[in-house]
Structures are given as structure tokens and as C-alpha cells.
């Protein structure tokens, strides 16, 4: 399955740090070769990475003092070896988390009459639109309640990386809805006006 535009853009970061492999790498490289905008973005990301890695100088780590403190505290404390007993609980938690994530990803509300889709790769703009992503633990019910409360309808998404395009009826409603979403960090990973 080919990547949508948003996922391609995210994957540029992993092309820039050279961790992308196999088919994914090939797909992103092909897209970059065909799209000058993606190629420019890749240059910027490589620039950011190089700048961040060069920034290292000057940081004073605890060094040998930190190691001495560590040894002192280990000596002082009676060592406790943790048995591998919690594996079962973690497995259950992981299954629940995966289930919730899948439910969120599958959440799709069709809106009869709303035709303002922005298709992947198109430059078409949508008035009073927002873009949002939700945390992995947000349930379909949580998202529905929040969107209804904020007066938003889903006009596209979730994308392959879980991003929704949302529409408000007018500019005031758009601002108010954005504020509502941004005030719910326990559910909303990010929210912003769609540029």
C-alpha cells in the first residue's frame, strides 16, 4: 500500500537520519526524486540533523563523579533482583493499547453532503479547517464526544498516521474549536489550523 502525503512527509525525517529501509525507503526516495518540494524539505531536515549533532560540544556530563555516586549508592543499597513476573501484565496492557489504537484508527464518520475533501497530493484548500491527531489511548467515544462538543465534523481521515481533517462552520467556530482541542492534551496529540 502506498503512503499518503502526510506519512511521506513524516518519513522524510527517517530518510534524513538514514534509518529507513527496504520498500519504505524506496518509496520515499522515489517520491523525493519526483517532487522538488519534498527534496527541499529533505535538505532542510538534513541541515537540522547536522546542526543538532554538531551542538554537542560544551555539555558537561557528571562523568566520573556520577559513576562514583552510582557505585556508592549501589554499595549502600541492598541489591534487589527483580523477578520477571510482570511480563503477563505488560502483555495484557499491550493488547489493550493496540486494541484502542486500532479502534481509533478505524473511526470514520461519513458526512452526507460534505464534499470538501482534500485529496492526498492536491493543493485544494478547505475553509475553516483544522488538522488534529489523537493520542493512542483516545477511544472512538472520546473523540466523538470531543468533536461533537467542539462543533466539528470529520471531512477526511484518519490518514495512515492517524491525522484527521476537521471542518468548522465559520471562522469564529474554528478558533473556538481549536482552543477546545488544544485544551484536551490527554486526548489530543496536536491540533492546528489547516494551512
Amino acid at each position: 500500500m502506498s503512503m499518503e502525503r502526510e506519512e511521506l512527509e513524516a518519513m522524510l525525517v527517517f530518510l534524513a537520519n538514514d534509518t529507513l529501509e527496504g520498500d519504505e525507503r524506496l518509496e520515499v526516495e522515489t517520491a523525493v526524486a519526483a517532487d522538488p518540494n519534498l527534496a527541499e524539505e529533505l535538505k532542510v531536515l538534513k541541515g537540522i540533523r547536522a546542526t543538532m549533532q554538531a551542538e554537542d560540544d560544551g555539555i558537561q556530563t557528571p562523568g566520573e563523579f556520577g559513576l562514583a555516586r552510582l557505585k556508592r549508592d549501589i554499595k549502600a543499597s541492598k541489591r534487589m533482583i527483580q523477578p520477571a513476573q510482570s511480563t503477563g501484565l505488560w502483555r495484557i496492557a499491550a493488547v489493550v493499547a493496540v486494541g484502542l489504537f486500532a479502534a481509533q484508527t478505524l473511526f470514520l464518520v461519513s458526512q452526507p453532503g460534505v464534499e470538501d475533501y482534500i485529496l492526498a497530493g492536491e493543493e485544494q484548500r478547505l475553509e475553516f479547517a483544522l488538522q488534529a491527531g489523537f493520542v493512542g489511548t483516545a477511544t472512538e467515544a472520546d473523540i466523538r464526544e470531543l468533536l461533537l462538543d467542539a462543533g466539528l465534523v470529520i471531512v477526511d481521515g484518519p490518514s495512515a498516521i492517524g491525522i484527521y481533517t476537521l471542518s468548522a462552520p465559520d471562522a469564529d467556530a474554528q478558533s473556538a474549536a481549536l482552543e477546545r482541542l488544544q485544551n484536551r492534551p490527554e486526548l489530543v496529540e496536536f491540533a492546528e489550523e489547516l494551512q
Binding site: E7, E9, A10, M11, L12, V13, F14, A16, N17, D18, T19, L20, N37, E40, E41, K43, V44, L45, G47, I48, A50, T51, M52, Q53, A54, E55, D56, I59, Q60, T61, P62, G63, G66, L67, R69, L70, K71, D73, I74, R79, M80, I81, Q82, P83, A84, A97, V98, F101, G133, G136, A160, I161, G162, I163, P185, E189, F190, E192, E193, Q195
Partner: protein, 187 residues
């Protein structure tokens, strides 16, 4: 030279699991700097970062016998550091959620401005500081530590899709912020 390959670090972990303090010192010397830098970048307080680094390696010492090697040693230790740093944020009610959009200069970031700004450490540092902690961590792990999205998802304990979403959003904000810095400097 400090061991850096996962195979070397795994050998150290096995020795630590058997109570070998010299192996712990070897692991500490190999990973102290990147882990400390990762913590410090979020807290911006060297004293607090020292304490958290200490706690991380105390946890490594205690939990080494149960390390099963499902993830790489580095990913496992960064995961401990990530959780401890986020716990610290929560306990101290530190405002970590900024992610405000910088003033919009244009509808889409201008690549030439972004490229120029991306090469200036002060601009990159400022714009990274504008991101909220979870988003900043994802970018830092990608660019400081050259981790894949799968490894970052293990460190942060969230699905890979969440990491892609965070990276997508963080990248957009960074681009806009960098463009804004150049435009601000020119005006």
C-alpha cells in the same frame, strides 16, 4: 574505546545482571553522554538532569537481570530515561506543552529560508524549544541518536503511528518556526 554496538552492550548487560560493577561502569561510560544530553534537553537544569541520569543507571543495575534483549540495550535505557523525565515533568507540573504556532509568515514554509536557518544552531535550538516535550523527544531521538521510528516508539512506549504523527507535526512546526526566525531577522 567505549563499546557502542548492541552486541557489545548486550554482553555488558549480561555481566551487570550477574552483579558485575565493572560492567556497569563500562555501560555508564558508553551511554552516559547521550542519555544525559537527552534528559538535559528536556529539563534544561543540569542538577536535575544529573539526578535523573543517576536514577536511570540505578534502575539499569536493578533491572539488568530481567533484561531479555527484545529491544536494543540503547533503546531500553533511553526508554527508562524517557519515562523518568516525563514523570519528573508531571510531578513538578512543569509547563511542557507549548507547541504554539509561531506567527505565520506565509502559507507554506519557504525552503530557502528554512535551509539557511537549519544551519544556525541558535535558530534550531530556539525552534526545538517551542515544541512540546513528547514531540521534541521524537525529533531528538531521530536526529541526536539516529533512531528509527520503530525504536522511538519503543522508547516512548507508544505505537509507531503515534510517533509518525508526532514527527509529522513537529516537522511542520520546525519548518515554520525556522522560516519565521529568518524573516524576523531580516525585518
Amino acid at each position: 574505546m567505549a563499546p557502542t554496538s548492541n552486541a557489545d552492550l548486550k554482553v555488558l548487560m549480561q555481566s551487570i545482571g550477574s552483579g558485575d560493577q565493572a560492567a556497569l561502569a563500562g555501560l555508564y561510560r558508553a551511554l552516559e553522554r547521550p542519555v544525559y544530553k537527552f534528559i538535559l534537553s528536556k529539563l534544561n537544569d543540569p542538577a536535575e538532569a544529573h539526578d535523573i541520569l543517576h536514577e536511570v543507571f540505578m534502575d539499569v543495575w536493578k533491572a539488568a537481570p530481567s533484561f531479555e534483549g527484545r529491544s536494543t540495550v540503547k533503546t531500553w535505557i533511553f526508554g527508562i530515561a524517557y519515562r523518568k523525565t516525563m514523570d519528573h515533568f508531571r510531578k513538578h507540573s512543569r509547563v511542557s506543552v507549548t507547541d504554539d504556532m509561531p506567527e505565520q509568515i506565509d502559507e507554506s514554509p519557504d525552503a530557502a529560508s528554512c535551509l539557511a536557518a537549519s544551519q544556525e544552531s541558535a535558530h534550531v535550538k530556539h525552534c526545538m524549544g517551542e515544541l512540546k516535550a513528547e514531540h521534541r523527544s521524537a525529533v531528538e531521538l531521530a536526529f541526536f541518536e539516529d533512531m528509527s521510528y520503530g525504536q522511538i516508539s519503543e522508547v516512548a512506549g507508544v505505537p509507531e503511528g503515534t510517533i509518525k504523527t508526532r514527527i509529522y507535526h513537529a516537522k511542520k512546526l520546525l519548518m515554520r518556526c525556522l522560516q519565521g526566525r529568518i524573516a524576523g531577522a531580516l525585518s
